[in-house]
């Protein structure tokens, strides 16, 4: 029988939740790296027992940890992230120039073909790559060198590169997203990049349709259709059918189109999940009801999924990297909250139950489906 391993990053450590394919009983391991912020941890698709974790602290900076045994033991890896050349400036919140400064790794994306290769999306926004199992890191400077960098600005969480998507059909194509710059694509393995924000509309920038400056919260792709992208923007749920060249809004009947997470069903590329959040100043679900919304039509038509989720007095948030799906026959969907719950559905969202109730605030959730 298959197994499922859920990798949870929190404000005070990492947790690993394991179950068999029934996904009814869970073993909880952790906290790993107790007391440290674990922004993200993720396993290699090539070697699922190879895990990478981003461990950071406002006091002691950035560490990268890796495991070769599925998270039972860990070893420190390289933590030297140095921007290529003179970093220059981006915009500060008030529009004034502000020097580029490394703060932390938000997202680690292991290669689809090599367990030793892993990408790191960092704050202040840049993309780094390691080809030696995270021991050494080099920036892919073409992204910040695109020319629009001086116009990027931080979102409320900082100027973070939080999304890295590798195209399984084309090893030279990658997507990344930055808050608040927008989405970018490379078609030459990271040498050059171009913004892919046409169709986005954002009121917080002087030109709402500008090439960059959009606060993209997360982007998701189904591996069988790598040219179709779904985006949860600061406001608006968006869709592109041409690899980001043009976006259209698919918020439809959502109660609010603000939110952070978005993900796609493992077997149904037109089935999409979001968790609507009331607004950019009220980071909790509308009406105190925690509801996942599912569209089976690739957007526009959404249904509320509520069974097993709190429907009164719930004021948690679900952060951008805190939703994932497994690839069992009956697709499992998972998300974590700032209240420390990790909810799981073993039936594509129809019914939910909390795997754990009382972790520290959840920053990220990833899922591994294991043989």
């Amino acid at each position: 029988m298959n197994k499922v391993r859920v990798l949870v990053g929190t404000k005070k450590g990492a947790f690993i939740l394991s179950s068999d394919g029934k996904r009814e009983r869970w073993d909880v391991s952790g906290p790993h790296f107790a007391g440290w912020e674990i922004y993200h941890l993720k396993g290699s698709p090539v070697d699922p027992n190879r895990l990478y974790a981003s461990q950071s602290s406002g006091w002691f900076g950035q560490q990268i940890q890796r495991s070769k045994d599925g998270g039972q033991t860990w070893e420190p890896a390289g933590n030297k992230f140095v921007y290529d050349g003179v970093p220059g400036t981006h915009q500060w919140y008030d529009g004034t120039p502000h020097p580029w400064e490394f703060k932390r790794v938000w997202h680690l994306e292991p290669s689809l073909s090599d367990a030793e290769t892993v990408y790191a999306g960092v704050e202040d926004a840049a993309l780094f790559r390691s080809t030696d199992g995270a021991q050494t890191w080099e920036e892919l400077p073409g992204l910040r060198g695109h020319g629009s960098g001086p116009h990027w600005q931080p979102g409320a969480g900082g100027m973070c590169l939080h999304t890295v998507i590798l195209d399984p059909s084309d090893p030279k194509r990658m997507y990344i997203a930055i808050s608040a710059a927008g989405a970018f694509r490379t078609d030459d393995a990271g040498e050059t990049w171009r913004p892919i924000n046409h169709g986005l509309h954002s009121q917080h920038i002087p030109d709402p349709d500008a090439e960059v400056g959009h606060c993209v919260h997360h982007v998701a792709m189904h591996p069988s259709r790598p040219g179709v992208l779904f985006m949860q923007k600061h406001w608006d749920v968006m869709r592109s059918d041409n690899a980001g060249d043009l976006w259209r809004e698919v918020s439809g009947n959502l109660p609010t189109d603000f939110g952070f997470v978005i993900d796609v069903h493992a077997h149904e590329p037109e089935t999409v999940y979001v968790v609507p959040i009331k607004s950019d100043s009220e980071h909790f679900p509308p009406d105190g009801k925690l509801r996942v919304y599912r569209s089976r039509t690739g957007g526009n038509e959404w249904e509320a999924l509520t069974r097993g989720l709190p429907q009164k007095d719930c004021y948690v948030n679900v952060l951008r990297d805190a939703m994932a799906v497994d690839s069992l026959d009956q697709c499992g969907v998972y998300f974590g909250t700032t209240g420390g719950q990790v909810y799981a559905s073993a039936d594509a969202g129809d019914n939910w139950a909390a795997i754990v109730h009382d972790l520290p605030a959840v920053l990220s959730v990833e899922v591994q489906t294991l043989p």
Partner: protein, 97 residues
């Protein structure tokens, strides 16, 4: 022999139990930190920034009831630290959470 007391998170990171005892000829704050990082490479970047070697903002250095955090790296260590009579303390600033 110089004694160094690390904050709990850095002891865990470095796999250190109790005080660090460094056999080193270091006589300044900077060379003591160099020796510490040579012995425990995982601490590189955790106390001082990688490139600039500047002290991280929420890290402080105390010794002999004095705050050495803002002294330049070539500041001589107190003789009681060099002799091992007193430890050099690396402290995480009180900053909540």
């Amino acid at each position: 022999m110089i004694r160094v007391i690390l904050p709990a998170h850095l002891r865990t990171l470095g796999g250190v139990a109790g005080e660090v005892k460094l056999e080193t000829g270091a006589t300044t704050v900077g060379t003591l930190l160099d020796a510490l990082e040579d012995r425990y490479p995982v601490l590189q970047g955790a106390i001082r920034e990688h490139v600039t070697q500047q002290r991280r903002p929420y890290v402080r250095y105390f010794a002999c009831e004095k705050d050495l955090s803002h002294e330049p790296p070539d500041t001589p260590l107190p003789s009681a630290v060099v002799s091992g009579a007193e430890p050099f303390l690396i402290v995480g600033a009180i900053a909540g959470g």
